[in-house]
Each structure stands twice: as C-alpha cells, then as structure tokens.
C-alpha cells in the first residue's frame, strides 16, 4: 500500500518535473512570462489520448503530441514576440483560456466536460507499462531525456544567447542576434516538452477532461520555477519534490475534500509569500524576479 502510494508520488514528481523544467526554459532562461504553459500540457494530453484511443502506438503518440504542442508554442510566439512583462503574461493567459474553451466545447473530438476515458497505458515494442512500477521506469526515462536536452540547451551558447535576450534584448539585437527567432525557438521547445509531459499524464491517469487544464493549474508549476529559482535546473528539481510532497500530509488529517483543495492553495500561497520575502531568488536562482 505504502509502496503504491510512494510510486504514485514519484510518477507525479516526474511528470511535474518535465513540465517545470520546460517552463524554466521559456521563463527562467528566456525571460518570457509565459502563463499559457498549461495549455501546451493540455494539448499534448488530448492529442496523445485521441491518438492512443485510435490505436496509434505510444511512441508515435508522444512524439506527435510534443510536435503539435511545440507547433502551437511557435504559433503563440508570433503575435507575442514583441510583447513583454504584463502584456505577454496576459496574452499567454488568454491563450490558455481559449485552449480550455476548445477542450470544453469541441465535443465531437474532446467529448467536452465528459472527458476521454479508457486511455490505454503504453506498450512499447511488446513491453507493457500498465503497472505503476513499470510506468515509473518509463517516466524516469522521459525525465532523463527531457532534462538532458533542456540542460544541454541552457548550458550551450544558444542558452547564453537566450539569457542575453532576457537581460537586454536591444543589446542582444545590437550584437546581431535575431532575438525574435530565439524567443520563438525557446517557446516552441518549451511547449514541445510540456506536450510530452501532457502525454505521460494522460496515459498515467487514463482519463482526461478539461478540468485538469484550467488556468489555475499553472500556479503550482509557476511556484516550482519561482521557488527553485529562475534559470536554475537543479533548483527546479528540488522545488518540484517539495511542491508535490508538501500538501500530501494534509490527506492524512481526515479533512473533507471540499476543504482540502482550498487548504492546499493556501499552503502554496504561503510558500510563495515566504520565499519572495526571505529568499527572493528562490533556492538556486541566478536572476531576480522583476
């Protein structure tokens, strides 16, 4: 029993970690206050669920889910590339509302509020991942792949060019950097990995509906990035573990679920206030919150 619960938590940590490090790429390294990240997570989840339910193999589903999410990330970058700060945050937040509305209202494809049940667990080259233990192994593999690529990007000269754009876009342009292209690539790659996380989420839960992808769902992910520290991948790992585990003891107090949800939100809010007050750069942040 304890083992199953522990494995469940590790799977959640893995999925949240992919989501958070991909947000770290666009927010922490590129300085794009992207509040629409959860929409890419949702797009990945729905695309892979629809494909898997149609019998498409898992590896193709997850790749297509990532590519379509990445495409929407690139598409979103086109009108938002010239926006900064609050304006960018509002536009990306608006995008997540639009995507949520599509999940809810495009009933023929998404089944609207009823959601998509019966999403199959992965089966790759005859290896079955239907048990939670085997699924955890799959999640670990995808975490390692995602971390490898994002770490590689952030620590390469490409990552430095992203950081330069974040620090001073005009100066970066004056050195000949095509900053709009840099930001588009960053948002597309970030969305690609959010789509991968969405696919893993859908195949783990085996049921998705629009309520998993409301704009409120961005709050814990944003919290992970801020608490871990902007432009810090190791901070993101630590913060993901803390944010996933922190509200768990509340389950054992025996409170009704109608109270448990709001208490969890209060815990997150308190955590955010304490971090901003006592450690404004988060655990290992390189950049100030501005």
């Amino acid at each position: 029993m304890i083992d199953a619960y522990f494995i469940h938590l590790l799977i959640l940590i893995g999925i949240y970690l992919i989501l958070a490090i991909s947000l770290q790429l666009s927010l922490g390294y590129s300085g794009l206050l992207n509040l629409g990240h959860i929409a890419f997570f949702g797009i990945g989840a729905y695309v892979s669920a629809i494909l898997s339910l149609s019998g498409v193999p898992f590896l193709i589903s997850i790749l297509v889910a990532g590519i379509i999410s990445g495409f929407f990330g690139w598409l979103l970058s086109l009108p938002t590339n010239r926006l900064k700060g609050d304006y960018l945050a509002l536009t990306t937040l608006g995008f997540s509302f639009v995507v949520y509305a599509i999940f809810l209202n495009w009933v023929e494809i998404t089944k609207g509020p009823f959601g998509l049940p019966g999403i199959p667990r992965p089966n790759i080259f005859g290896i079955d991942f239907s048990s939670n233990t085997s699924f955890l192994i799959l999640v670990v593999i995808f975490v390692l792949i995602s971390y490898f690529f994002i770490h590689r990007i952030c620590n390469s000269q490409f990552g430095k060019a992203l950081e330069a754009t974040r620090d001073d876009e005009l100066a970066a342009k004056s050195l000949g950097k095509h900053t709009l292209k840099l930001k588009s690539i960053s948002l597309a790659v970030s969305a690609f990995f959010a789509g991968i996380a969405g696919c893993l989420f859908a195949s783990y839960i085996t049921f998705i509906d629009p309520s998993s992808f409301t704009f409120m769902s961005i709050i814990p992910i944003l919290l992970i990035v801020i608490i871990g520290g902007l432009a810090s991948l190791r901070g993101t790992i630590l913060a993901t573990i803390i944010i996933v585990l922190l509200p768990e003891p509340l389950r054992f107090i025996g409170l009704p679920s109608s109270i448990l949800g709001p208490i969890r939100q209060i815990v997150f809010a308190l955590m955010l206030i304490l971090i901003i007050y006592f450690k404004p750069r988060g655990f290992f942040g390189k950049v100030d919150l501005e």
Binding site: F149, R152, I153, S156, Q157, F158, G159, K160, A161, E163, A164, R166, D167, D168, L170, A171, A172, K173, S174, L175, G176, K177, H178, T179, K181, L182, I185, V189, A231, K286, V287
Partner: protein
Amino acid sequence: MLKIENLTKKFGGIIAVNNCSFEIEKGKITALIGPNGSGKTTIFNLISSIIKPDQGEILLNNQNIINYSIDQISNLGISRLFQQPRLFKNLTVRENLLLAIDNEDVKLWKNIFGLNKITKEKQGVVQKILEDVGISETKNKLANELSFGQKRLTELARTILNPHQLLMLDEPVGGVNPKIKKDIAKFLLGLKKQEQTILLIEHDMPFTFNVADIIIVINAGRVIAKGLPSEIKKNKEVLEAYLGC
C-alpha cells in the same frame, strides 16, 4: 564609407534631426559634437535602426540601409557602444564577450549537438581584448558585480569583438575616472593606427580633440561645421553654439 543624406526625424512637434547630411571616411575617427539635445544620439539611433527616419537616406558603402533591422545592421558590420551600460547583467564578462564573436549561438541543433564549441581560439580572442583594455582579472565576474568603469571597458571590448567595419561609440568616457579615460584614449589611438573607422560622440573636448581626425558639429539637428580639430577650435559659429563664447 557611411553617408547620411538629408536625414530628418521628428518627435511630435520637435525636430530632433533636421535635414542632416554628412559623410564619414574609412580609416578615420570622426567625432560628432554638439550641445545636449542637438540630435547626436538620435542620429546614432537612426543609423542603428532603433528608430526610422521620416525622410532621408543612410548609405553604407553606397547601400541604403534604412529598411534594415537592428540585428541586420549589426551583421552588416556596424557595431555600437550605447551611452548607458547595456551589459547582460546575469552573465559573466567572459560570456558577454563570447556572445559578440559570432552568431553561431542562435543555431539550436548545432548547439545541442555540441558543434558550436568555445574553442581555444575564441578563448584567446577574449583573453587578448580583456588584456588590451586592462580588465582581464574580471573575466569570471558577473557583469552586475563590476564597477561603472569596468562595465564601460567590458562594453567597449564587446563592441570591438562584434565583427565590424564601423564602430559607433556613444560617450565612451562618460562618467569614468581620469585613469580609465586615459586608458580608453590610448586604446582608441591604437585602433586608429590599425585604420579602424570610428564614429564617436563625446562631450569631453580634450579627449575628443586628442583622438579625432575629423569633427562634425551638430546643432538643432543640423551640421553647422565640419573640419579638422584645429579648424573647429577656431570656428566662430561652433564657439557660439557649443562652447558659449
């Protein structure tokens, strides 16, 4: 090399640059001087394409560059030092300089697969320029940890590392101490020996008259005089408009 023809820029009712024309020669240091608000930095912003002119042309080697973007202007070989420090504050001095060497860093796949390495040659170029401007000890410091003078020198080094045929320096010695001012003057005279083409804005007259080959005086957005430093010193209109005597 660079030719400005009938350039005009208005901000509302204010004419910042008024039918301004001048030409700068290859291999010379040309200084733009004039009172505050005379339009010198606006001319720099027009050449860098940060703002677009209302009329007129900017020709680089006979090519009109009016419709180019800021990054395209840089890639044509116009490298600019801004009036205010614009370093990438969360990157080290070394990282700031490496970004100026080339634009291979914007290629995602090349960087993911480790094909854009920081070669010994690149490291050597960075080390040399840092030694030339005298701040090699700051190499691994974050830009926002530097003093004002060190920031200015780092930015000057970054502007020079950016591949260029024309350097535009907006007040390179503004706000720095006399020692650094002397170092920058020595450094610019070294660039002059290498026949680099430099367009300079500076309010420090002894510094400007020391380094410049040609001086262009701007007042109310127009060129009121152009000549050798010795000629400008004696020009009555310049003395009246700028030096107030």
